[in-house]
């Protein structure tokens, strides 16, 4: 899975779950401040990402450093590189 596919799939999953405009989905967008997601939304964000990329996140703490949409792309890319997702 290339990086563009990751971006497309992450954006599609978040846009649908949180009814976000595509224009708002830029790498620098802050998940809480710009996209308006709160702590409950983060719970659901993990679920939709797990579904979109067919994986189970074993270590939820690994999300702690995520601040922006770009951080999510990176996080998913690392899971791909580690072979967790294909």
């Amino acid at each position: 899975m290339d990086n563009d596919t990751i971006v497309t799939k992450v954006n599609a999953a978040l846009a649908e779950e949180f009814e976000l405009e595509q224009a708002a989905l830029v790498p620098d967008a802050k998940i809480r401040d710009d996209l308006g997601l709160d702590s409950l939304d983060i719970v659901d964000m993990v679920i939709v990402l797990e579904k979109a990329f067919d994986f189970k996140l074993q270590n939820k703490e690994s999300l702690a450093a995520i601040r922006t949409l770009g951080d999510i792309y990176t996080f998913i890319g690392e899971l791909r590189d580690a072979g967790t997702i294909r």
Binding site: E17, G36, D41, D44, I47, K60
Partner: protein, 404 residues
């Protein structure tokens, strides 16, 4: 004692989604009851239910908010916005410790079932989704409205079976009369789905009459059970002089509130409990039976319930019982919501200058003789209305309302 004005009402009802649509249904006696034959496949005795047509929760709230709300909570939100709009109030006008939210509700069955399904599907609690806990709590209405309206005063949910709505409005009025609050957004809601009422159907309490629109027959000789219904109702109550000062249109005034419990049976109302609530409300209002010109009966169309209400009415009013209107002949039994919605229906009638007739009443049974059921619509509004509510466990409530 301070006085309590009603300045706004809102409804999501089987009779309609707007005040004008509901008013029209009340005026022409349109029924909100349908037959859902698929209930037979679930093992139901009765196919009958109230049905809300055309309500789209997505019109009112995005997914972010809806995930923590069952449909009936969204309906309560929609009704609340309508009530505030009629009262010419903005949500920001509710942001004070002197303003409160009190709603009646006594179940959120479907949400709890969905919770279990979500766990089975996900296989882990962290995969269930964030909204289930808030959908499955009985206080889901007041909890969610707090956030949606930015409320900063007290808020709570009242559970008293089919008297929940009346208890909510009665408690709201009491807060204002006692000086604890100046303005309360109150009401009730009732989930409308087969899952919530399957066990109730199993008691043989629901009508199996056909056609559906003729099935709810309060006080009639041929009545054979209630029809479960639902939706949401909201009312804005304000301290009377403050409402006047801000130039609000006063739609009605709550004159008295009474309550009681039978203390006898879970399901069978007795011959005295509701009468004590009615007498208590009269005393609270400083009125006598002669001051009441319309009874807005609880009257669910069950053989035992209507017989008991008839006995209680005759115990209070004797041979001089004023006309008795039974709105559940149109709506079915809105259960937790009905004690609030029936007040809202009276407000709508008064605004339009009529009194609705009772549908499907032809002749009394031996146990409802002497009840002057109002069958034909009157082209003038009621004035001082006694509104009854009663529920499982013998929970009774009575609210006396002045309108018109």
């Amino acid at each position: 004692m301070r006085r309590v004005a009603i300045t706004g009402v809102g409804l999501v009802s089987v009779l309609g989604l707007t005040r004008s649509a509901v008013t029209e249904a009340l005026y022409y006696g349109h029924s909100g009851i349908v037959s859902e034959p698929e209930r037979l496949q679930h093992g139901f005795r009765s196919t009958l239910t109230g049905r809300i047509s055309g309500f789209d929760p997505g019109t009112y709230l995005g997914r972010k908010h809806r995930k923590s709300m069952p449909d009936f909570a969204v309906q309560a939100y929609a009704a609340a916005l309508d009530a505030l709009e009629q009262a010419c109030l903005d949500v920001t006008d509710m942001r004070s410790e002197r303003c409160g939210l009190i709603f009646g509700n006594d179940s959120t069955v479907l949400s709890v079932l969905e919770q279990r399904k979500a766990l089975e599907y996900a296989g882990t609690t962290t995969g269930m989704g964030s909204g289930h806990i808030f959908r499955g709590m009985n206080s889901t209405i007041s909890m969610n409205l707090n956030v949606l309206l930015g409320n900063t005063g007290p808020s709570w949910t009242v559970s008293a079976a089919c008297a929940s709505g009346a208890y909510a409005v009665g408690q709201a009025a009491d807060q204002i009369r006692l000086g604890r609050l100046d303005r309360v957004l109150c009401g009730a809601a009732q989930e409308l789905n087969w899952q919530a009422v399957c066990a109730f159907d199993g008691l043989g309490a629901f009508s199996t009459h056909s056609p559906a629109q003729d099935a709810s027959r309060p006080f009639d000789r041929e009545r054979d059970g209630l029809i479960p219904s639902g939706g949401a109702a909201a009312l804005v109550l304000e301290e009377y002089s403050l409402a006047r000062q801000r130039g609000a249109r006063i739609l009605g005034e709550i004159l008295g509130f009474g309550w009681s419990a039978d203390g006898t049976s879970l399901t069978v109302p007795d011959q005295h409990g509701l009468a004590r609530a009615m007498q208590s409300a009269l005393l609270d209002a400083g009125l006598t039976t002669r001051d009441i010109d319309l009874i807005n009966a609880h009257a669910t169309s069950t053989p035992l319930g209507d017989a008991a209400e008839a006995a209680n009415l005759l115990a209070v009013f004797g041979a001089s019982c004023p006309p008795v209107m039974a709105l559940k002949s149109l709506t079915g039994h809105e259960l937790w919501m009905s004690g609030a919605s029936q007040l809202a229906y009276v407000i709508l009638m008064a605004q339009e200058g009529f009194t609705a007739g009772t549908r499907n009443y032809e002749e009394p049974g031996p146990d409802t003789m002497g009840i002057p059921v109002l069958t034909q619509r009157r082209e003038h509004p009621p004035h001082v209305v006694m509104n009854n509510a009663a529920g499982f466990g013998g929970a009774n409530a009575c609210i006396i309302l002045e309108v018109g």
